[in-house]
């Protein structure tokens, strides 16, 4: 009951109920200001991570910059 | 009063004027000429440099480059065409012109039967490219008359060009529908003030209506446009810079269109034995410099040379950039079919628009071209007018054996 299933970067995983995206990232050791995210196809700015609560079945993409030409 | 096209050539012409081509040419040095010739693609500012007095000692060098560019882009083919003067009624008063309304000449226009007779006579010489001309008299020889003539001509020629007064987009579209594919429009001079001096009356006096005409023709569906300054009316370098800019600008905006340039120079025309208009003297050397500079600046532009120039000079100019010449020319109305010529004679219309200097027939021109190492090209388009292929019977037979 306290765990929900979500998909992050294409991988299924579980996380606690009522968790914000910001808290989810903190749990992974990710600085939320260094990434951008897509929640079910909607692009989220880092400022809104705090208010977005993850729900069962959510598809999350966490993207960051890497080296490229 | 005509309102110029919003994004037409007028603004670009203003920009070219602000460059002060005359000053660039006057101040150009030999090093500037060397720098220009060192570039693979000439820049806009290189063109006045090649037209400059400083470039004169380099004329042979520039001519060699022009020859190379011509060979690379056009090979050894020279297109042949002939003008057909349909009518000489004119309401303009161009001070330099043999058709001007003020001149005391008999006026005449061909009817459709005469157009067909002329078409047959010209087609029998082997020509497949024709240029139809009229004076400027919208009431008598306007868009509807012209379209009727074109419909006849399109049955005999694979390419029908027009050199007629400026028209609206709709009127141009009408000519395309009738079978025309190319239009020639000489701005005469791009210097607005001088233009007004030289065109004191008539519809042609509207500078911008004429300036936009090539673009309107393209908007109306024409596939080829031939521009021209009438060299000698004003500073030749300024007019050369303007016409090159006009061609360049059209090439950029209408990359699918074929853009070419004629380099006619003013020849004195006679009136009662007197020279009626004395233009600035455009010497042979100036004509050569203008042509080779143009070829270097716009390697892909066609260059047309008319029979205003004598045969010996036309032969000399061929390697320098010419891609199209006229042959079998008569600058009076009609004049190819014996009956039409006789009717013209009887009407008293005996004054041509200007005196031609190269009277070679199509056959003579063809054999001279071959002798000089060029291939005379009669038709270079797959599409366009139906040409001889749809003709039947005796005419078709005559054409095939011509």
């Amino acid at each position: 009951m306290s765990e929900i299933s979500i998909t992050v970067n294409g991988q299924p995983e579980t996380c606690p109920h009522s968790l914000s995206l910001e808290d989810y990232l903190a749990g992974k050791g990710i600085n939320p200001h260094k990434v951008v995210a897509e929640l079910n196809g909607e692009i989220l700015k880092p400022q809104s991570f705090k208010e977005r609560i993850l729900n069962a079945g959510d598809e999350v993409e966490i993207i960051h910059f890497v080296g490229g030409g | 009063m005509y309102t110029p096209l919003e994004d037409g050539f007028a603004a670009e012409l203003k920009r070219i004027e602000s460059l002060n081509v005359k000053a660039i040419a006057e101040n150009a040095t030999e090093d500037d000429v060397r720098a220009a010739l060192g570039r693979t693609f000439l820049r806009e500012e290189d063109f006045p440099v090649l037209l400059s007095p400083a470039a004169r000692p380099f004329l042979e060098v520039i001519a060699r480059r022009a020859q190379d560019e011509t060979m690379r882009n056009f090979g050894r083919g020279i297109q042949l065409f002939t003008p057909l003067y349909l009518a000489n009624f004119c309401t303009n008063r161009c001070v330099y012109c043999g058709f001007s309304t003020k001149r005391d000449i008999k006026r005449r226009m061909l009817n459709l039967d005469e157009v067909e007779a002329e078409a047959k006579a010209i087609a029998a010489t082997g020509l497949r490219k024709i240029l139809a001309l009229t004076g400027d008299d919208p009431k008598r020889t306007g868009a509807a008359y012209l379209a009727g003539c074109i419909r006849v001509l399109a049955g005999y020629f694979s390419s029908v060009g027009i050199e007629v007064p400026s028209m609206t987009v709709e009127e141009y579209a009408m000519q395309v529908a009738a079978g025309a594919d190319s239009m020639t429009m000489f701005q005469e001079t791009y210097n607005h003030a001088r233009y007004l001096d030289l065109h004191p009356g008539g519809p042609k006096r509207d500078f911008y209506f004429r300036l936009d005409a090539p673009e309107r023709a393209l908007m109306g569906g024409f596939r080829a446009v031939n521009l021209g300054p009438l060299l000698g009316l004003t500073d030749w370098r300024e007019d050369m810079a303007a016409v090159a800019a006009h061609a360049r600008w059209l090439m950029r905006k209408y990359p699918e269109a074929e853009i070419s340039i004629s380099l006619p120079r003013m020849r004195p025309h006679t009136e009662g034995g007197e020279v009626a208009f004395v233009p600035e003297d455009i010497t042979d050397a100036i004509l050569v410099q203008a042509m080779v500079a143009l070829r270097c600046y716009l390697p892909q532009a066609g260059i047309t040379l008319s029979t205003r120039e004598p045969a010996w000079l036309r032969d000399r100019l061929l390697p320098l950039g010419v891609t199209r010449v006229s042959a079998g020319v008569c600058t009076a109305v009609g004049g190819h079919d014996p009956d039409v010529s006789k009717a013209t004679e009887e009407s008293g219309e005996d004054k041509p628009q200007f005196d031609i200097s190269d009277g070679r027939s199509v056959d003579e021109m063809s054999s001279d071209l071959l002798r000089l190492g060029y291939q005379p090209v009669f038709s270079d388009w797959l599409l366009g007018g139906s040409g001889a292929s749809e003709l039947t019977g005796g005419v078709a037979e005559a054409l095939r054996t011509a």
Binding site: N9, G10, K28, G29, I30, N31, K34, V35, V36, E38, I43, L44, K45, P46, E61, I62, I63, H64, F65, V66, G67, G68, G69 | E30, D31, V33, R34, A35, A36, L37, G38, R39, T40, F41, P57, F58, L59, E60, V61, A63, R64, Q67, R252, P255, D284, A285, V288, R316, P319, L320
Partner: protein
């Protein structure tokens, strides 16, 4: 003596005409030194999913604050994917520049002109400063101009090949016909090749692999910075006489083209 020669893209005035990348470095901590040695003011980055099992340091930390970030859409195989990546990049707050890169052929890595033009049109309308990576094809370039690109980035040779200006003639045609800045991207392997592109009239060059994989990338960054400046100066100066072309004044003689003028 140095010559001032700024140029502007997307409203930003730039002094350096060398764009650099951040890919293929053995160690990202080299990037600040290369930014300095090359003098570059524009730097590219790519977007990828975060790998939670291997969250290394962030490349962004290495990029000097004064530099313009140019995110690319590498990895996109269609216009839609490129648009999505561009929007993600902008959401991160790095600005609205985007280098469109749509590659659906994984063997030759050549850009897809049709999809690139579609993405360019959509993003330009959304206010992005769009710099599309492209094959130096005149028709594609015209489509990109009409689609609202801020510059076009033709490839000099296949990406990462270090083969130089294999497309020299085609780029020459773009330089002749296209009014937008032409930024030569991909394939440049040596400073002399970047220099040649600039001599021809390119507005800038983007160099990544050739610097990142050099024996001494910091020094190679400096070499490219100087080469691009040298080429630009040569272009502005106007190339002088080319030996063998015979651009010398001569008086017409018999048998020449203009001898008839006497």
């Amino acid at each position: 003596m140095s010559y001032s020669d700024e140029f502007t893209i997307g409203g930003r005035a730039l002094k350096s005409r060398l764009f650099i990348g951040t890919g293929k470095y053995g160690n990202d901590s080299m990037i600040p030194q290369i930014a300095e040695s090359s003098g570059s003011e524009v730097i590219t980055v790519a977007l990828r999913r975060v790998d939670f099992s291997n969250a290394k340091g962030n490349v962004m930390q290495q990029i000097p604050k004064h530099m313009q970030i140019l995110p690319n859409t590498s990895g996109a195989r269609s216009a839609d994917e490129a648009v999505r990546l561009a929007r993600l990049a902008r959401a991160s707050g790095v600005g609205d520049w985007i280098k469109i890169e749509v590659i659906s052929d994984t063997r030759h890595l050549l850009p897809d002109g049709y999809e690139t033009a579609k993405a360019t049109e959509i993003l330009a309308k959304e206010g992005f400063v769009v710099l599309p990576y492209m094959n130096p094809d005149l028709y594609v370039a015209r489509d990109l101009v009409n689609a609202g690109a801020a510059a076009v980035m033709p490839l000099g040779a296949p990406i990462g090949s270090n083969r130089g200006l294999a497309t020299r003639e085609m780029i020459g045609i773009l330089l002749e016909e296209i009014e937008l800045p032409i930024i030569v991207d991909a394939g440049i392997g040596k400073p002399s090749q970047a220099c040649e592109a600039m001599e021809m009239g390119a507005a800038a060059c983007l160099v990544n692999t050739a610097i990142a994989t050099a024996g001494d990338p910091v020094r190679m960054g400096a070499a490219f910075g100087e080469a691009v400046r040298a080429g630009r100066n040569a272009y502005l100066a106007g190339l002088g006489r080319v030996l063998g072309k015979g651009a010398e004044a001569s008086s017409p003689e018999e048998g020449t083209l203009t001898g008839f003028l006497k």
